[in-house]
C-alpha cells in the first residue's frame, strides 16, 4: 500500500500544486481552484473533529462550512511562522465547535429536531468509518502513554468539549489538579509525537 492511499483523505491532490503551504499561498491570492484542493485535504479533518465534538451530523456540517469559509476569508492572515496550516485550521474548527457547544447547551431539543428532519443522517453510518493510518496509530499509541487522569482530562476537554470545571466534576478531582493534568498530558503528548510549535 502506498503512503498516499493509507491516508484517510485519499483524493489525490494535483502534484503540481505543491505543499499545503503553497496551496495556502495561492488561496490567499484568491485562487478558488487552490481552495478546492485545500478543501479536499483539510475538510475531512475539520469535519471529523467537529463531528467528534458535536455528534450531531447536521450541525457538524454547518460548522464545517463556517470554518472552511473562514479559512478562505482569512487566508491572507495565516502566518506559517506561527504554526502549521493544519493546526491553524483545526484550532479554528475546535473553537467553533466549542463555541457551538457552549452557546447551544440549552437548546439541545431544538437541535435534535433539526437533526431528525435532516436527510444528512442517512449518510451517517457511511461517514462513521475512519481509515486507520500511521498518524492515527501514533496518536493512539501516544495517548496510551499518558496516565489515566491525564488522558481523560485531555480527551474530555478536546473531544468532549467540556470546560476544565466540568472535567473536574466528571472526574471528581480538584480544579488545580485537572488544569495541571491537561497541561502535563499535552506536554507528554507533544514529546511522544515529536511536534514543534515552529
Amino acid at each position: 500500500m502506498s503512503e498516499e492511499t493509507a491516508l484517510p483523505w485519499p483524493r489525490v491532490v494535483d502534484p503540481s500544486a505543491g505543499s499545503p503551504a503553497d496551496l495556502m499561498a495561492r488561496v490567499a491570492r484568491g485562487d478558488a481552484d487552490a481552495f478546492a484542493q485545500l478543501y479536499d485535504l483539510m475538510a475531512p479533518r475539520v469535519y471529523g473533529l467537529i463531528r467528534r465534538v458535536l455528534r450531531n451530523p447536521a450541525q457538524s456540517e454547518e460548522v464545517t462550512q463556517e470554518v472552511m469559509v473562514e479559512v478562505w476569508r482569512t487566508a491572507t492572515r495565516y502566518d506559517a511562522d506561527r504554526g502549521s496550516l493544519t493546526s491553524w485550521i483545526l484550532t479554528m474548527a475546535h473553537r467553533r465547535a466549542i463555541d457551538r457547544v457552549r452557546s447551544e447547551q440549552s437548546s439541545t431539543d431544538r437541535e435534535q429536531a433539526v437533526a431528525a428532519a435532516s436527510s444528512i443522517t442517512e449518510y451517517d453510518e457511511v461517514a462513521e468509518a475512519v481509515t486507520t493510518n500511521l498518524e492515527v496509530e501514533q496518536v493512539r499509541h501516544c495517548l496510551s502513554s499518558l496516565t489515566e487522569l491525564q488522558r481523560e482530562s485531555v480527551t474530555l476537554a478536546y473531544y468532549g468539549g467540556y470546560s476544565y470545571r466540568e472535567v473536574a466534576e466528571l472526574l471528581d478531582a480538584k480544579l488545580a489538579t485537572i488544569k495541571a493534568r491537561m497541561r502535563d498530558g499535552l506536554i507528554r503528548l507533544r514529546d511522544c509525537l515529536g511536534v514543534t510549535g515552529r
Binding site: 484517510p8 483523505w9 478558488a32 481552495f35 478546492a36 478543501y39 475538510a43 475531512p44 479533518r45 475539520v46 469535519y47 471529523g48 463531528r51 451530523p57 456540517e61 464545517t64 462550512q65 472552511m68 469559509v69 473562514e70 478562505w72 476569508r73 482569512t74 491572507t76 492572515r77 504554526g83 493544519t86 483545526l90 484550532t91 479554528m92 474548527a93 475546535h94 473553537r95 467553533r96 449518510y123 461517514a127 475512519v130 498518524e135 501514533q138 496518536v139 495517548l143 485531555v154 476537554a157 478536546y158 468539549g161 470546560s163 476544565y164 472535567v167 488545580a176 495541571a180 493534568r181 491537561m182 497541561r183 499535552l186 506536554i187 503528548l189 507533544r190 511536534v195 514543534t196 510549535g197
Partner: protein, 247 residues
C-alpha cells in the same frame, strides 16, 4: 494569580476548556509571556493531532456548498507588517497602549493611527481570525468616521470602560478592560443615558470585551455600566453605576 498557576493554564487554554473570562485573562497574560506563547504553540500542535486522528470524510454535497459560498465571500486584505511605525506628534503612544486592551491596540494601528513600539505585541492569530478580527475591523471603521468621539473612565467597581461612537453612523463600540470577575449570578450591564438622564439598556457584558452597539446612539450623552443580577435588569442598580459622559 501566581505565575505557576497562570502557566498551568496553557493546557486548558489550548484545549479550549477555559471559561470566557479566564480565557480573556490568560490571553492578556500571553501577550507579555514569551515562554507561554511558545508553549501554547507547541501544545496546540499536539492537541490538534488529536483532531487529525478522528478525520472523517464529510458528506460530499458539502464541498459544493462551501465552494458556492466562497465565490460570494470577499477575502480579508493581508495585514501590512508594522515595520515602519511612525509617531505622530501630539499622540502620546504610551497612554494609548495602556488604556486600550491588546485587541483594540491592534485596531488603532489598523485604523491608521500611528503607535510606536508596535513590535512585541503578541496577537493570537487564531483569535484574530474570527470574532476578534471582525471586532477590530468594526472598531477601525468607527474610529475612521469623521465624527468619531471617544470617552473613557474608570469604573466604580474596578477596571476601565472606553466608548467610541459615531452619531452619524448611529454606532458605538464599548471596550471593557480589567473589570473584576463577578460571581456567577451577576453580570455587567451597559446603558446609554439620554438628555433627560434616563438610562437605556444596551446589553450585558463580561469582564474584558468589546461590544458593538448599533442604533440608539443619537442624542445619548453618557455611557453607564452597572452590576446586575443575571439575566440583567430593566432598571439600573444605581449604587453600582459608573457614568462616563461622552461630551
Amino acid at each position: 494569580m501566581t505565575t505557576p498557576e497562570v502557566h498551568a493554564l496553557t493546557g486548558p487554554y489550548v484545549l479550549n476548556a477555559l471559561p470566557e473570562d479566564e480565557r480573556t485573562g490568560f490571553e492578556a497574560h500571553l501577550a507579555d509571556c514569551q515562554s507561554c506563547s511558545a508553549e501554547v504553540a507547541e501544545l496546540r500542535e499536539a492537541a490538534n493531532k488529536l483532531g487529525t486522528a478522528v478525520a472523517t470524510d464529510p458528506p460530499p454535497p458539502l464541498k459544493a456548498r462551501v465552494l458556492a459560498e466562497i465565490a460570494t465571500t470577499r477575502q480579508l486584505p493581508p495585514l501590512v507588517k508594522p515595520d515602519a511605525p511612525t509617531t505622530e506628534p501630539g499622540l502620546a503612544p504610551a497612554p494609548v497602549r495602556r488604556r486600550f486592551n491588546r485587541r483594540s491596540f491592534f485596531s488603532l494601528a489598523a485604523a491608521g493611527l500611528a503607535v510606536a513600539g508596535a513590535g512585541g505585541i503578541a496577537i493570537d492569530q487564531y483569535r484574530e481570525n474570527s470574532s476578534t478580527r471582525q471586532e477590530n475591523e468594526q472598531l477601525a471603521a468607527l474610529l475612521a468616521e469623521p465624527d468619531a468621539q471617544t470617552a473613557r473612565g474608570n469604573l466604580k467597581t474596578g477596571g476601565q470602560a472606553t466608548i467610541v461612537m459615531s452619531p452619524a453612523k448611529d454606532r458605538a463600540i464599548v471596550l471593557l478592560h480589567n473589570l473584576p470577575k463577578l460571581p456567577a449570578d451577576k453580570t455587567y450591564q451597559l446603558w446609554l443615558m439620554d438628555k433627560s438622564r434616563d438610562l437605556h439598556s444596551v446589553g450585558l457584558a463580561t469582564t474584558d470585551e468589546s461590544k458593538l452597539i448599533q442604533g440608539g446612539i443619537i442624542g445619548k450623552i453618557a455611557l453607564g455600566v452597572t452590576v446586575e443580577n443575571k439575566p440583567g435588569a430593566s432598571e439600573p442598580t444605581l449604587t453600582t453605576a459608573t457614568v462616563i459622559p461622552m461630551a
